[in-house]
Symmetry: C2
Subunit: 222 residues, 2 copies
C-alpha cells in the first residue's frame, strides 16, 4: 500500500492526509520525527522534512504542495483545484496564503513554540514569540473569517484544496487550544462542516504525549 511519512501536528502533513482521505486513496501513515534527521529520510527527501508520499510503483513525492499537485494530476476523479483558470488561481492563492503568510506569522510560530520545542528538547516556549503570534493572528483570522462569510467554501463556490489547507493549519492550532472561535463565527461554522467530513476523523484521533487537546477538539458540533 502507498505510504505517507508524516507528523501529526504538522499542517503540511495534515493537508496531504486530508486530500488523500477526500480522494479515497488508502495509505499507511508512518510517523516521522523529522528533527531527528534520519539519513534514510534525507535519502528519499533531500529537504529532510515531511510529508513524503511513497507510491506502490516506487515513485517518491516529497513536500505537501508537490504531493497535492501530483495527486490532482494522477487521481483526477475528485478534482480539488477547480476547473477554470480563474478558479484554479483562487484555490491555489488561498492555499498559498495559509501555507506562507499564515504559517510564518501564526500557525508555524504556535506549533514551534508549543509543540516542536518540547518534542525536540529545545526548551520552553518563548513568551515574546507567542505574543507576536497572537498579535499577528487577529487580522489574519479576520481575513479567513471574511472568506468564510462571503463564499460557500474558502477557495470559492466548491470544496477545494484551499479548504483542506486551511483546515490543516487551523486544526493544528485547535489541537493546542490557541483559537478563540467566538471571534470568528463564520469560520467556526465552516470548520464544523470540515470536521464532520470522513477524511477528518483520523486527525481528530491524533494524540501527542504531553499535550492534551481541549475537549472541543473532537466535538463535531463544538
Amino acid at each position: 500500500m502507498r505510504t505517507l511519512l508524516h507528523f501529526p501536528i504538522s499542517p503540511a502533513s495534515r493537508t496531504v492526509r486530508l486530500v488523500l482521505g477526500e480522494k479515497r486513496l488508502p495509505f499507511e501513515p508512518v510517523i516521522e520525527r523529522a528533527w531527528e534527521q534520519r539519513p534514510e529520510l534525507f535519502a528519499i527527501n533531500p529537504a529532510g522534512d515531511v510529508p513524503v508520499l511513497i507510491e506502490d510503483n516506487g515513485l517518491i513525492v516529497p513536500s505537501a504542495p508537490v504531493i497535492c499537485e501530483y495527486l490532482e494530476e494522477a487521481y483526477a476523479d475528485t478534482p480539488l483545484l477547480g476547473r477554470t483558470l480563474a478558479e484554479r488561481v483562487e484555490v491555489r492563492r488561498v492555499a498559498a496564503w495559509f501555507d506562507t503568510l499564515f504559517a510564518r506569522e501564526v500557525s508555524g510560530r504556535f506549533i514551534d513554540e508549543r509543540v516542536m520545542k518540547r518534542l525536540s528538547g529545545r526548551g520552553n516556549p518563548d513568551g515574546g514569540a507567542l505574543r507576536d503570534a497572537y498579535a499577528s493572528m487577529r487580522p489574519l483570522m479576520r481575513y479567513a473569517n471574511e472568506l468564510a462569510e462571503n463564499r460557500n467554501w474558502l477557495g470559492g463556490g466548491f470544496l477545494s484544496l484551499a479548504d483542506f489547507t486551511a483546515a490543516a493549519h487551523l486544526s493544528c492550532m485547535d489541537f493546542i487550544g490557541d483559537i478563540d472561535w467566538a471571534r470568528v463565527p463564520a469560520l467556526r461554522d465552516w470548520y464544523a462542516r470540515m470536521k464532520s467530513r470522513p477524511c477528518f476523523r483520523p486527525l481528530l484521533a491524533d494524540r501527542i504525549s504531553g499535550i492534551t487537546p481541549p475537549e472541543y477538539y473532537t466535538n463535531l458540533d463544538f
Copy 2:
C-alpha cells in the same frame, strides 16, 4: 499589456520574470516596494507581497508558485514542468527545495540582511545571521552542485521551472556577491548557460541604489 508587480532582488519575482521571458509573454514590469505596505497592494493580494501578475483580462494572480502553475496551464506552448507524472514531481520538488529550504536557510537570510534591512531602514546586517547563512550554505550549495553534475538541467533532462527557480535564487545572491563559484564548478557551468539565455538579460540590468554587484555578475562567461 500584462503587468507584473515585482521587486528586483526577490527570488520569487525573478522566477516569474524568467518564466514570462522564456515563454515569450510580454509584460510591463512595475517595481513594488512591498515593505511599504500600500493598501492598493493588499487590495489585489491579501498576502501583501510580490510578485503579482495582472493579466489584460483583469485576472490577478499573486504569489510566484501560483503564477508559475497558472502560466503553465494558460500558455502551454513552452512547457516548463515536464510531461510524465514523475518528471513533473521532480521539477516541482527541486523548485520547492530552492523556494523553501534554500530560501529559509540561505538566500532569504542573505537578501534580508544585506538588501532588505538597508532598503527598509531596519539597520545593519546582523553578523550572527550572516554566519549562520554561510554555514548552512555549504551543504546546500554542494547538493545543488551535485544536481548540476548528474543531470543536463537541475530538474532532469530538460530545461524546466527547477532551473528558473534555482537561477532566481542564485542570481540574487550573485548580485550581492555571496557565491564562491570556485567551490561549485558544475553549478557554475550550468549558471553560465542560464545567464546567456535571452530571458536573463533584464535581470542582469537590475540595479539597486547603494549596492554595486560584482563585475562578474553581468559577465556571461564569468
